[in-house]
Amino acid sequence: MSLSHPDLWSVVNKQFKYKWMSYKSVFQGLMIAQIIAMVFSLFGVASSSMGFGFIDLNIQYITGDFVFFFTCLWAFFISVALDRNENRLADQIFVTNSWSRHLANVVFIVIANMIGTITVVTASFFVKMIHIWIFGIDGFIFFGEYTLPGMLIFFIITFFYLILFSSLGYLIGSIMRQGKLIKFGVVLFVGGPLIFTDNSYLIPLFQFFGDESSVIWFILKILLTSMLAIGLTTLVSRRLEVQ
């Protein structure tokens, strides 16, 4: 009989601190992903041409979009790997159960994504500043002003997108760990169509999140989807609980 009664939150707190100390490599991944994105952004994120009257305009767009999308990929892949077998075994040094492990993982994802969000926003300005340094400020047209509410929206929307990608990655990672056959199935049925089809079936999914112009509705959609994904992850990984 044990005299100690560890409550859930103290266990989650300990596990989170352990994960925070030992999973710092995810931030090396973040830096690498963002620096690669910044290098790509040096050539412009997109370009388009238009003509009106006698002027042919070739427009090169400079934004931090690559940094944003690369960071979303980072959020996805770190979450896929977060609950892998080695990490789950390492959690056994604590008094733990599936519930506390998932909660600690979620806290880690949230904190990591906060850092990811800060770096997305600042790296976006870094990209623009590099362009201005190289080409001089006179050759640019500045579209849209970064006001304080605008910056707040930038932070919030970016953060929730990272949460969305993380929760989906967390779910897919847990499904893939159900067995080699299932892992093969996930790669085949999720990865295959992504590579070999025109991905038109994903348009409604992208529109569901990407066309939402209300911040409240957007956050609600992300929260519901993420909670659903993490709930499913908890259900899926129940059969792996006993070590």
Binding site: K24, S25, F27, Q28, M31, I32, I35, A46, S48, M50, F52, G53, F54, I55, D56, L57, N58, I59, Q60, Y61, I62, T63, G64, D65, F68, F69, I118, T119, V121, T122, A123, S124, F125, F126, K128, M129, I130, H131, I132, W133, I134, F135, I137, G139, F140, I141, F142, F143, G144, E145, Y146, G150, I153, F154, I157, T158, Y161, D211, E212, S213
Partner: protein
């Protein structure tokens, strides 16, 4: 000092590249690895560099004119005023922006105008307010950085034949647009590639160039070729 500032972006990038190459090339999982031991410092340094450059960005661009979508989209009133102004050849109206002016002296009683490329909307006026031939290039008075890219017309007058030749100064212009990121565009419900957001809802109409040719009352303008 200037040279140092010019080298700053290259130096910053070099530092970042060195960090990446070092992380990738060395065994990162060894506890004695520099990048493992110093990873907190590296991450803090990374965020500090990005934050510092972000501050420099805001300091640098805060004096720059910014194009706001709502600013260039609400043009209906200006367009109405402008149409009324140019129909009455009233170029002093606030809705009119004069781009360039030419004055040609001529004793001829008959002149002709050639605009082989039909690049401009031409207006001809016989008026007693001018004693010479006066050519004015004008457009709607909209406040947009694209206006700075619009070239002047190439207008020449051949005194012998009385030909006013308006040539097309077709130009290919490359511009770089510093744009908001996807998360902001989503909430503002704007697409990066939708030209309306860049040049205004009635872009072509807004930037269309007009040429008003004013000649003395006794001069006959006998040919206008479009």
């Amino acid at each position: 000092m200037f040279d140092l500032m010019a080298l700053l972006p290259i130096l910053l990038f070099l530092i970042l590249v060195i960090i990446v190459v070092s992380i990738v090339s060395k065994g990162t999982y060894s506890p004695n690895n520099f990048f493992i031991r110093r990873r907190n410092v590296i991450l803090t340094g990374y965020i500090a560099v990005l934050s510092l450059v972000s501050i420099v960005y805001f300091i640098t661009v805060h004096t720059q004119a910014v194009v706001e979508n709502n600013e260039i989209g609400n043009l209906d009133e200006v367009i109405t005023d402008f149409e009324e102004a140019y129909q009455h050849h009233n170029l002093d109206h606030e809705s009119v922006k004069v781009m360039n002016e030419w004055t040609f002296s001529s004793d001829l009683e008959e002149i002709s105008i050639e605009d082989p490329f039909s690049a401009y909307q031409l207006h001809v006026e016989n008026t007693d307010q001018v004693s010479d031939i006066k050519v004015t290039q004008f457009m709607m008075n909209v406040d947009h950085p694209i206006i700075n890219l619009i070239p002047n017309a190439n207008v020449s007058f051949q005194e012998m034949s009385g030909h006013i030749l308006i040539e097309e100064p077709r130009s290919h212009v490359e511009i770089k647009v510093i744009y908001e990121e996807f998360p902001i565009r989503q909430i503002k419900d704007i697409s990066m590639f939708h030209r309306d957001h860049l040049v205004g809802k009635r872009g072509e109409e807004s930037y269309r160039q007009h040429i008003l040719i004013q000649v003395p009352e006794d001069v006959e303008v006998n040919e206008v070729s479009y």
